[in-house]
């Protein structure tokens, strides 16, 4: 297969969007946290916990959307944990985040294993189905690309706009942006810096969990060990690449998705000439390259990683 053929095929773009969707959730979540001044390295574990919680809800007989809400609630809870430790208590955001990741993923695995001790192959659920819109789905190219996607992908697109609106068009967004730059300015205006940070981290973590839930409830139909596979860390890299802007986050996630989908197709078209692992490495290397490319001129939120202590300036 030719490169051009790949790039022109609807299946390729449909796959690219599918791969991008969890990352859109994850990057939006990470950028919200970081915009408020909190690096949330709990993301990898929150993805895992969200994936497990959403799936488990449905497995136990819950509705798909109930599963989504449960996953988000679980994400928000881990966000609350991370925020309480790093915001009012001012603990190292790096180490706490790693701790939250270890806790969230081991808790998810522990619960899954205890609930299903005997299974050899993971049980399946009926996942989200493609959202076909009569008429539009039949459009050439765009029909198959867009209408192979499930409701969660559409939700991800909508969230890009919503997060952008909140950050740049509302008083809340103004406060979030200020609190990640100069929390003293926010306190001087009578707002509670810690509450704003905690709330933002919880919201961002809920979005991260949604990214995980997409994996078990839309991309796949079961929960596997190690299924998040570094997607959380990739989101952290893409957040820098996106310079903490929702629009660029969408672009970065889609670029990554296209790259990953392309790599898979290249792998099949090249047969066994090159070991498969080489292709599997590419997305990680792509993420590192994306980070390195923008790192020097990246305009980090100025208060990122800096705990705020009342009355200290």
């Amino acid at each position: 297969m030719d490169v051009i053929d790949i790039l022109l095929s609807a299946n390729f773009w449909a796959a690219a969007i599918r791969i991008a969707t969890p990352l859109i959730f994850g990057v939006l979540g990470a950028l919200l946290c970081e915009r408020s001044g909190v690096l949330n390295l709990g993301i990898e574990g929150i993805f895992t916990a969200g994936a497990m919680a959403g799936w488990m809800t449905v497995h136990l007989g819950g509705d798909l959307w109930t599963g989504v809400l449960v996953a988000m609630a679980v994400g928000a809870l881990f966000g609350l944990l991370h925020a309480v430790l790093t915001v009012p208590l001012g603990l190292s955001q790096h180490v706490t985040g790693i701790g939250v990741t270890l806790l969230a993923s081991s808790l998810a695995y522990f619960i899954y294993r205890n609930a299903l001790p005997q299974v050899t192959s993971p049980p399946r659920i009926v996942p989200f189905q493609p959202l076909a819109i009569p008429g539009l789905s039949d459009l050439p190219f765009f029909g198959p690309v867009l209408f192979q996607q499930t409701a969660l992908t559409w939700l991800a697109f909508a969230l890009v706009a919503i997060v952008g609106w909140v950050l740049y068009r509302t008083p809340l967004g103004l406060a979030i942006r200020a609190v990640g730059d100069t929390p003293q300015a926010v306190e001087a205006q009578g707002l509670d810096v810690h509450l704003i940070r905690i709330g933002t981290v919880m919201a961002g973590s809920a979005l991260m969990a949604l990214g995980g839930a997409f994996l078990t409830m839309s991309a796949f139909d079961a929960f596997f060990f190690g299924m998040v596979n570094g997607r959380g860390w990739i989101c952290i890299a893409l957040t820098v690449f996106a310079s903490w802007r929702p629009g660029k986050a969408l672009f970065g996630a889609l670029l990554y998705g296209a790259f990953d989908a392309f790599q898979v197709r290249l792998q099949t078209s090249l047969g066994g000439a090159v070991p498969g692992q080489v292709f599997l490495m590419l997305p990680y290397l792509f993420s590192i390259a994306a980070l390195v490319l923008v790192a020097r001129k990246a305009d980090y939120p100025r208060a990122l990683l800096v705990p705020f202590v009342k009355g200290q300036r």
Partner: protein, 359 residues
């Protein structure tokens, strides 16, 4: 309403620091009772099984110490890097790089007598780990790329490289098709410390290294520079300390230590390399380092604690029928507990009551 306030202590309390760490370990075990009870297992029996599994017999103790060996080394790797605030989260990848180099050199490439081969194998593993850590260190110092993300992502890359090598050039021709390397030559195997026990000379090496690192960090000019850079990089730079050079040196040291952990596992315990050599020793090493308060000698104690949790949890899991992921849960909880416990040593926690005269 009663409020809670943190007031910085004028001087940190050393006795409290130790108490806080021990308390954190205990708190993590206590908290673990919740999921154990929720899973319907008898809590008392579970913990008894755990203690017995970890230290109940000579064999159990040997298992715990064997498990602690790589954790001491990955714990030291994290401890030295974190001292400089170089966030090396790539211990897992560096461990695999070290193991890969060890089997590349030690499973037939060089057929030398043991006293010559063992140091070469160890050096190869340390160099591999160091070189791997050099990449994110340089990306940080040259391009400002956050090393947390790059080291984490490199873990996945390295694991894929290992899988590729085990299916390709390093595949054992007599391995019956399994993706595993050829065994380490007999003379390169680290001798066992006791007959029929798995604890091996790697433990001695790890202990010697821990003492050496403790000395270097506390007494040497390099250790001084690492601490200065970690505590205040801009003041260190201002005073003429080469911050970039310090990062590179400490990164190399950290990577080499994690690489040595890989050598120790391959040459001391498993004998050959598979892609499931490490059940997350690199990540647990971070917990070990934090539990130890980045103190190299404390790392030894913390590594034994974490190893005991893992080994003991296996017995507990078999005995009361809950998932052995309880060990990961305890280790993660102890990390968060020790962070909170650390606050006690640097802050005085005050409960504030409203002044009745004022309201």
């Amino acid at each position: 309403m009663i409020g809670l306030r943190l007031e910085p202590r004028p001087t940190p309390a050393p006795g409290l620091a130790l108490a806080a760490r021990i308390g954190a370990g205990i708190a993590a075990l206590v908290l673990a009772a919740i999921p154990i009870a929720l899973a319907g297992a008898p809590v008392g029996k579970a913990f008894a099984l755990m203690a017995e599994g970890a230290f109940g017999s000579l064999f159990a103790t040997s298992e715990t110490l064997a498990r602690a060996t790589p954790l001491i080394l990955t714990g030291l790797a994290a401890a030295v890097a974190f001292r400089a605030k170089l966030w090396n989260i790539g211990g897992e990848g560096q461990l695999y790089a070290g193991a890969l180099a060890a089997v590349a050199v030690g499973s037939g490439l060089l057929d030398l007598p043991g006293p010559a081969l063992i140091p070469i194998v160890m050096a190869a593993g340390m160099i591999a780990g160091a070189v791997l850590m050099l990449v994110p260190t340089l990306l940080k110092t040259r391009f400002g790329a956050d090393e947390v993300v790059t080291t984490l992502l490199l873990n996945f890359v390295v694991l894929l490289v290992v899988q590729m090598m085990l299916e390709g050039p390093l595949k054992d021709p007599y391995g019956m098709g399994w993706p595993q390397s050829a065994p380490i030559l007999d003379q390169a195997v680290l001798p066992k410390l006791m007959p029929r026990m798995r604890v091996h000379t790697g433990l001695v090496i790890a202990l010697v290294v821990a003492v050496g690192i403790a000395l270097v960090m506390a007494r040497s000019v390099f250790g001084f520079q690492v601490r200065a850079v970690g505590e205040n990089a801009s003041a260190a730079r201002f005073a003429g300390i080469g911050v970039t050079a310090t990062f590179i040196k400490v990164g190399l040291l950290s990577g080499a230590l994690a690489g040595l952990a890989g050598v120790s596992e391959v040459a001391g315990l498993k004998g050959y390399l598979t892609s499931d050599l490490s059940p997350g020793f690199g990540y647990s090493g971070i917990v070990v380092a934090m539990l130890a308060g980045l103190n190299p000698l404390g790392v030894v104690v913390a590594a034994i604690f974490v190893a005991a949790v893992f080994v003991g949890a296996d017995s507990m899991s078999r005995g009361v029928g809950i998932s052995s992921y309880i060990a990961d849960l305890i280790v993660a909880t102890s990390l968060l507990c020790v962070l909170v416990g650390g606050l006690v040593t640097t802050y005085r926690i005050r409960f504030t009551r409203p002044d009745p005269a004022r309201s």
